[in-house]
Symmetry: C2
Subunit: 762 residues, 2 copies
Amino acid sequence: MTTHDQFQLHLQQLPPQPETAIETIFTLGNGHFGVRASNPLQGTQTAYRGQPGLLVNGFYDLTPLSYGENYFGYAQNSQTICLLPDPRLIIFEIDGIRSDEQPFDVKIVDKNLDMQTGVLLELFDVTTPTNKQFRLTLQSFASQDDTHFYVINYRISALNFTGPVTIIKQHAYIDQQIARDENDVRAAQRDMTLDRTFTSGQLPTMMISTRKSQLALLVAMTPLPDTNMPLTTIDDLPAYSRTLDLTSGLTVNFSFAYAIGNPHPLLDATQLLQDFTETAESRLAGQTFDALLASSQQRLVDFWRDSDIALHGDDTLAKAIRFNLFHLFQAAGRDGQTSIAAKGLTGTGYEGHYFWDAEMFMFPFFLYTQPKIAKSLLLYRYKTLPQAQQRARELAIKNGALYPWRTINGEEASSYYPAGTAQVHIDADIAYAVAAYVAVTDDQTFLLQAGYEMIIQTARFWLAYGHYTADGMDFVIEDVTGPDEYTAMVNNNYFTNRMAQYNLQIAVDYSTQLKHEHPEKLVALNVTTAEIDAFQRAATHMTLPYDDERRIKLQDDVSTTKPVWPIAETPRNQFPLLLHFHPMTIYHYQVNKQADTMMSDFLFPDDQDQAQLQRDFDYYEAITVHDSSLSRAIFGILAHRLHQPEKAYQYFTETAMMDLTNAQDNTGSGIHAANMGGSWLSLIFGFAGVALTADHQLRLDPRLPENWTSLRFQLQFRGRKLVFTVTQSALTCRLIAGKPLTIYLQHEPILITNESISHRFL
Amino acid sequence: MTTHDQFQLHLQQLPPQPETAIETIFTLGNGHFGVRASNPLQGTQTAYRGQPGLLVNGFYDLTPLSYGENYFGYAQNSQTICLLPDPRLIIFEIDGIRSDEQPFDVKIVDKNLDMQTGVLLELFDVTTPTNKQFRLTLQSFASQDDTHFYVINYRISALNFTGPVTIIKQHAYIDQQIARDENDVRAAQRDMTLDRTFTSGQLPTMMISTRKSQLALLVAMTPLPDTNMPLTTIDDLPAYSRTLDLTSGLTVNFSFAYAIGNPHPLLDATQLLQDFTETAESRLAGQTFDALLASSQQRLVDFWRDSDIALHGDDTLAKAIRFNLFHLFQAAGRDGQTSIAAKGLTGTGYEGHYFWDAEMFMFPFFLYTQPKIAKSLLLYRYKTLPQAQQRARELAIKNGALYPWRTINGEEASSYYPAGTAQVHIDADIAYAVAAYVAVTDDQTFLLQAGYEMIIQTARFWLAYGHYTADGMDFVIEDVTGPDEYTAMVNNNYFTNRMAQYNLQIAVDYSTQLKHEHPEKLVALNVTTAEIDAFQRAATHMTLPYDDERRIKLQDDVSTTKPVWPIAETPRNQFPLLLHFHPMTIYHYQVNKQADTMMSDFLFPDDQDQAQLQRDFDYYEAITVHDSSLSRAIFGILAHRLHQPEKAYQYFTETAMMDLTNAQDNTGSGIHAANMGGSWLSLIFGFAGVALTADHQLRLDPRLPENWTSLRFQLQFRGRKLVFTVTQSALTCRLIAGKPLTIYLQHEPILITNESISHRFL
């Protein structure tokens, strides 16, 4: 397989999938928006079983959460990402029949996503009700250069007739609703109505506004210069339309660009519209499909240069990895106003919410290969720090911040607090990401302007929410839920406490550092010596529960006392358990949805020796059902550390292939972005054995699956760009930017320079 | 104060109350229905701030419960008692103005409830928009003889005018909705629409049917013979109407009877209607207000003969007690199809649901003074045993039953399981009531036909839901919530485990008994020797957590480790805590809504010596805020046992006076029926010191508050009727029916015969 081929995703190479899953897999996006790869004709037909539409990062409406019993401090609104009219929509009128009024038969011939150019090529064979056939070819891309642009080219060639065809492009006018996801426990139907207004004129623009969140979004549409399609009005809406005389065998070809604005508060709509239209007009003036593509493609070239992973020895996995990295890039907000939703911008699953996985599963990929995007993700959390402080007040915490478990706008949107708000580890997850960012980039400006405040406000939460035992010897944290959502509201969840300890410790460390460098910062945040001492004392006395009999880390104070769920005796169709058993039943057993204590072993590799890790792994693997897509990657990495290559490989392949094979049967609702991040973690922190030492040095401990010949990847570290190639027996390193750097191969220091030097590790 | 006066409840004697509270306090009912004592003119006016209406026990509609996140096994429907058209409604037309179209000014002059006759006398001064004034006097009663009848007499006398007045009586036609109770956490607006159809003819009948529960209820209306008011049609509805010439100073007088049917499945409506009308017609034929009253009153005489408590030395408390007993009698279903709602039939609070308090707080009053009603209450639970078995299946319990935490029709209606379904102690509460019924009545037929099955099915639940620790030495019950709703989802709640132990033990005891007497019963229920052994083993090994350091019973495995809520520093307006703090905040502290472990000390007096009781009491009293109305009575009884008379007296008065003083400011939503039961418990199990010994003997240990001169009460016990009079120093006993019986005064056996004999105890 050529390198070119490894960046091509052909529909024909995938196992058969439902239409919604195909739409997800071939979604184009750029962190600002995503466009699902739906049927461009049948987008308005109710018989069509896909879910076409445009998703814009940060554009959501509020929908009231309802409770049978409504207690104080419950989240009052959900935030639901809006599924917007599909810009791919095209209407044909042939023999007096319009394709949006009477369905034309549309057959997918092929789809190919070129992940190097970002172009999605699609071939459809269309048959009219009067049996006229033509081929429709789409080429489209979401610009990676100016992320406001979506560009699409249509080609039409008649297959069995000659005659007139009218083509209409206008903003889709369907009433958009967020469809209910049957696999989603948040099953309340969201009857979300969007308001839309249109302007005619040079650049037909649609303003979409939300009812309750009061946001406005502008979408403008224009034919590109090589397109000869005059502006008119159809059904009272501005439209481009032209009647062509198709001749069998000849091809007609035209292109459109969409400018998709940023979400704005719905205030001065007229001014907003004017500014937007002027900007879009000027940016698009004289542009062509190819010119726009060239700019976009350049950004993709840069992306792959810095972020690609080349795996040799397994072409299927090699492509799956690139597919995952491409989707991560498409998913991540880059504007400091948005983050990465659980489904990226590929579907409405989880209502488009951001969770902890943005920081814990996806952030590391950006941190080590696209640090600007990593910073942008953290800035989103900084921007929403006021909401997190307010949320802490609602939980009677007078000082500090509690980040929301699920959110778009920074407010809590979890309606089942035992598996939502109670996952207070989100605070430490964010603090951990901040510290990792500062350690890997050495971006002291960010630390001073944002990161330190986030670390302090989250550390304060732990001090207030935890307390000391009566003898004053142990700091305990009660009534929390760890990552494992099959256990809820426990005392001293190991992962939570360990992460809180880290959060408190870095609050001490950065306070100690900044006390000398920038004492005014501590004064501004009212950080006193007494408070630093309190952080240190709580960190030092943090309870980390341990089962002395089994000699394993305890998931929580009493986790091993419950009976073990009979996993082997549970029929496969009873998974995921949460769809088949009441929470009281599930909580009543030792059964884990996902890695929990093992997340701690993963994140803090120096906490335990191999024997401890092995005991923890054996115990928790046996009670984990991996009903969460966040689970397998972690177990796989730890299996690697434990020198269990078959197991590591098995977990990895399941991780890497999850969406391409629709393994959880819900890819239609969107990609499993965290799992994609997990596939990067598996390769870099797993097979390559990358880790930060306690004193922030880079360490590698590579070991490839036996059928792989090599793994090549880049990392950025403190201003350097490093290229690594791992083979079965050797690591080759080269510095391609920045000053020479000493890293560790296992425990051996090696100096990396711009000469490529190989080091045997076997 | 004469005895007669002690049965009169005068509005003038009460502290000022909002109109809704007055409506509740003066509600008339008979276990089948309740009629709120609302303004009879303004029942249809939106400006009126009362909540008029009729409540029928067991007549409810289903309303969908909605969840932001909907998990498997969640209750899908709430059941909401229907607030039905008010039969008190009367319409006047004066000077062409109808009182239901334009409000007349209505001033309450007085209300008096005669608890001996059951008659409510009400005086209103009415002023028309044209300034004509008349006095309206109502006398009404809910028949205690035939509980389908509600009878009302209206008297009208002009105060400042002479002239024509048209009077209209017809079935109220307002659109009934269940109003939202601001104090109720189940805040979802219940838009419950009832369908109604009318028949004209001799007996105008309204058929009310529910949309989702598909129940029908018939209500017929007829003037009584002394009433001269012809049947006509007004606004297309059958109505009685007459125009009178009122002369200042003279009185016009007329009476109506309502026949209120039983809830029926909405099947053959025509047949239902015909049967009902014929029955009602024949039962009411030739009846007068006085004749109907006489029959009703006789039943009340019987009630007071068996159930009265005469307290001498405090007239206010004496009347409050009778008020409470009268309301308990009005609240309790007597037909084996219904139970006692938390608010009786006086209001829509808690949606008319039955809870554990029916068995644990109200049942004992009926058991010892109205055992037929007690049996009827247990038959309701037996009737709903199939639903409880089904519910256990939903929680993956293959064998056994789990009764619902809140219900009308026997299905679970709690939408917040941590303070709902998780209160699995409901099972043992019901089993405890069954055993108490059998012990006190010796009703072996009930045991055989219903009680034993209930005990077995609930015992099976414990066996399945609990489990043994790894060493097999301790039986533990995890993930439950005890009575205290400020703590949720804990392991080994003391009260729950102790009650479960009792449930298992009586399953063994009755199985052992019936194995010899009725082996076929065990076969029918598939009770094997192995299962009986398993019950015994679980009971024997039941974990009853204990704090060795503090030497107190532990509320749950870890209850004493949390910090204590700063009760004294919490502003009064922050109570009840559940309306001002997130559950995660409340659960994070040691703070009890109500008696929890103390309920166990109360129910099992022989479990602990005085020193243990004192330690438990001191510890738990300090962390209890009594935000539940079920709390004070229990603490008062235990204070009495601990010889703390001031404290016992204080708790008792707060209990006895709660609704008369609207102490919790929510009497408008209905009485606190459990608290009323608690006032009986306080007197009998508290001040009189009544208890059953382990071998089912009756024991008294009386001690009166120092300002009381005597307390007289009746008890029924194993076929005997006993009268007791307690003074400051002596107990006088007499048998008025049944064979002589030996009871214990403290530890001294005394034989009770039909001679009245006094025994000094001081």
